[in-house]
């Protein structure tokens, strides 16, 4: 799984590509942990752009749950955006779709992101 990062006005954008399954979950968790630690210094938001995320297994869902929990503890706004239909289905079925902030696309997610601190 390939993960890239972008920064947009204080919000960190995390862009995973490929399949988030049992095998890829630990690395994804490590990266998301790093991203949260990074924005912790200047608390704003973390948005995971799922445009290129093809598949999420239950082990992958768990990493999103852990990320949402750590983000809440760190006071970082956490959101997802641009879920593919199959992934959207997994989020809806498990109930995670209602538990987390999910935006239709990146533009909406960034527009809703908290203002960066001066």
């Amino acid at each position: 799984m390939k993960i890239t990062f972008e920064t947009h006005a204080g919000t960190t954008l995390m862009i995973p590509e490929g399949r988030l399954d049992f095998g890829a979950a630990p690395e994804f968790q490590r990266q998301i942990g790093k991203a949260l630690a990074g924005v912790q210094a200047a608390p704003a938001g973390l948005v995971v752009d799922c445009t290129a995320l093809d598949y999420v297994s239950s082990a992958g869902l768990r990493v999103f749950l852990l990320a949402a929990q750590s983000a809440r503890r760190a006071g970082v706004a956490f959101a997802l955006c641009a879920l593919q239909p199959r992934v959207r289905e997994v989020f809806d079925l498990s109930g995670f779709g209602r538990m987390m902030t999910v935006h239709a696309d990146r533009a909406t997610a960034l527009a809703q992101a908290p203002e960066p601190l001066p």
């Binding site: 297994s57 869902l61 768990r62 109930g95 995670f96 209602r98």
Partner: protein
Amino acid sequence: MLPPETAATASEANMGAREIRAQRVPEAHPPMNLAPALRSAHSVRAAVRARAQLILRPDRWIGRAIDNLILALIVLSVGSVILEAIPGLPAWVRRTFRVEEIIVVAVFSLEYLLRLAAATKIRNFVFSFEGVVDLISIAPFYLAGVDTRAVRALRLLRLLRLLKLQRRVLESTVAERTRELADKNASLEEAQAQLKAELEVARALQIAILPETFPMKPGCDGAARMIPATTMGGDFYDFIELPDGRVGLVMADVCGKGVPAAFFMAVARTNLRDIAPQYPEPGACLAQANERLCAHNPMDLFVSVFYCVFDPTTGKLKYANAGHNPPYVRRTDGSVEALSGAGGLVLGAMPGVQFPDHVAQLRPGDRLVLYTDGITEAFNSADEAYGEARLIAQIKAYGDGAAVGLVENICRSVAVFAGAAPQSDDITLTVLKWGAP
């Protein structure tokens, strides 16, 4: 002395330095159509090699004795070469040195022959560092004839026997390290085998706690199957007999797999079994189970659960869904419908979640099919998922017979679809066939 066959086996098992060296050279296989005489010559050669290897084995007393003898003779002969250089030595001293030299060369020569015999490929030994050093140690004697004083330069060559000493030290160090490594490997392998055996037991236990048969209820024919992806799975199903005569059916999938998932599965199952008799409504039962799981969840795991309470006298089904794939009902006319309806979050993720109850009615001859996503998300080599459509097709096609028949057909269809692709998730399936009592 052991018979040759046994000796060869014992020698293969030995991890001494010499055998390691021999192993680098692949065994020369005889051509297919050898004359019997050649074949027997080959087997004689093999027998001799096996015996020679057995004699030289550093872990047996005889090999160690030879080593020590050679070591002593090296020191002795090198000392003699130096002392011989002193001018004006008495004749008897020179004679003693002479005799000593003959004995040393005789022993070294025997040792050289023995090593030649033990070598898997003679040429490789002769041209190896060890082989050359061994040969240099004895060659001056034979080159100069019996009187080595005639060739002073050759006499000095005997000092090269010190190389033989160095070779021995090197060799024994390598042998020791190899033995240590072999010991460590053996204990690692033992530990791994033990761990594997324990996991096998745990897996057997995990499968054993799942109910084998559906409760004996009038008109009910139930069958279930669970195929873990790794040694330990996170899926489970359950049939719980409730005090009012109804039966609770559980289909659940813990996130992830392996030992943590298996532990969480056992906890979740115990909680549900414990709570179910006290909560006749499935939604309330799931809510209570969620509270308990959230209270003690050190690994932040969660489980998706479909829970329904079935009344075998009326065919009435009450259900609630905690983030699980909706089961299917196959009607007698062959149509298949999903038991959808709003569900709640998976259990263990967050406390305070509510799970709405829903009702469905089974008619005589209907089948209820509960499953985990190990079926719909079984992938083949082309990375395609089995999917809901194939599952529904199976349910439509094979839903007429006994419950176990449909279970077998679906499992076989998934296996055929996946082909050689590894099973990435647990596969669990329950079929309940109901005919009015």
